[in-house]
Symmetry: C2
Subunit: 298 residues, 2 copies
Amino acid sequence: MSVTVVGSIALDTVETPWGKNEDGLGGAATYFSLAAAHYARVHLVGVVGEDFPPEHVQLLESKDIDIAGLDTAPGGTFRWSGRYHEDVNLRDTLDTQLNVFEQFHPELPAAARKAPYLFLGNIHPSLQAEVLDQSAARFVALDTMNLWIDTTLDGLKAVLRRVDCIIINDSEVRELTGENNHILGAKAVMDLGPRIVVMKKGEHGCLLLDADGIFAVPAFPLDNVVDPTGAGDTFAGGFMGYIASKEQEDDATLREAVIHGSVVASFTCEAFGPDRVAQVSTGEIQQRYQAFARLTAF
Amino acid sequence: MSVTVVGSIALDTVETPWGKNEDGLGGAATYFSLAAAHYARVHLVGVVGEDFPPEHVQLLESKDIDIAGLDTAPGGTFRWSGRYHEDVNLRDTLDTQLNVFEQFHPELPAAARKAPYLFLGNIHPSLQAEVLDQSAARFVALDTMNLWIDTTLDGLKAVLRRVDCIIINDSEVRELTGENNHILGAKAVMDLGPRIVVMKKGEHGCLLLDADGIFAVPAFPLDNVVDPTGAGDTFAGGFMGYIASKEQEDDATLREAVIHGSVVASFTCEAFGPDRVAQVSTGEIQQRYQAFARLTAF
């Protein structure tokens, strides 16, 4: 089964204590697609500017990602620039240029509309609603951010009532619900609509809450974090891609999907940009999945 | 097999957003003992003042804890007072009165010396060394804190070379080694002596590193945290008590011990003071151990 993703495609300039990557391929939908493509056919919906390097398009195509929904608009590609601290949980955004992304209104090609799985990347809730209106997906997950919680809460709540699953940071849960306690916070999010809450806690792993209970998993321990940019988006890609490959969303599948999301996210952190997660082999993914089992077994 | 613990016995005044507990039974060695007593015979070594309420002594004795090493000195019992925030990961120490603890020099009675397992609670490294000199233990674990890392680093390093295991917070690992990365930090701690590192991450669970690799475990998710005081000490008590009950320290036993530590720590958080963890039944511990298995299974 295939999965549609709508979100940002960007050129990122990232500084970490271990190096710098200028104008590299970035964006939530990019990371999502390259991760999900290991598991399922992906329909990518987004916009780039005329400056978007053709080799990035070629990379996406080489992974059999459907780019029929990738629009090229007059102007520049969305650009983001950030700097990570020694403690890579902390980062400063240095610059954001929306460019063509500012006027973006997603239009889904036929295949993207028909895809049974849909991921609404972290874009304005009204755009997420536009996408939902076009989609025939039977399982929808959503990402959001503090900006929309602060500025567009009603719009966000309207979309939340229409989705099955939310993939969200612990700090965003706190902001959205006012709850410091993770479990109470996740339950308060469920009251807003989603029956499945995946709470990402960065290097501390994540929590899955659904009707069957709670699944808690640590992050894969890495001693070589180079650039965590896109880790959360990659997580979502591995999670949704795996579910789409299984064509079911029961608790056991969701748990496995969380591990696959964690596995691909760990690869993302090991290099600048999405190259590592794009090029990782199925064997490497399987091996790390097994390492995860060993990591948490007692 | 029995386990000896040396550390603080206190009267705590604790405020949380959910209530206040004045002059309650506290102290690291107290929490440790009441947790470990579920698994093994405990020899408690510490000092209290003449104001120490006899019912606290009776509680310890009722749990078959050996209090031959519990000294009563002229003066007041060690007192600690703190206040937790809405985010219970944050707390302010309001007051500390060392009182009789200031002149404390641990003297181990015969049974405490002979115990094969020893836990050096968070006291001055030179006192930890004095205890080691008296002990015939074949497996020793140690706790410490930022105060000793800041002020007595050489003394701490001298003791670290003599222990098998350290149980330490992630922030303390960072302070001790200068490493932000958990894995690199734990390995740097191993270079200082201990072959086993247990890194506590509060509500994010903990990491175990030994010669066989890494074990990562989330904290048990609680939606009713009332008072986290003593959770770390209880964790150590469950961990060491379980190991003492098994009389072995292989990787599989250490992993199970981490879960038992996490289980008893979760009970501690559910009420003010050590009463909950003291009174919890073996059945409840087993039940939560099984819930832990379900929580992390995939």
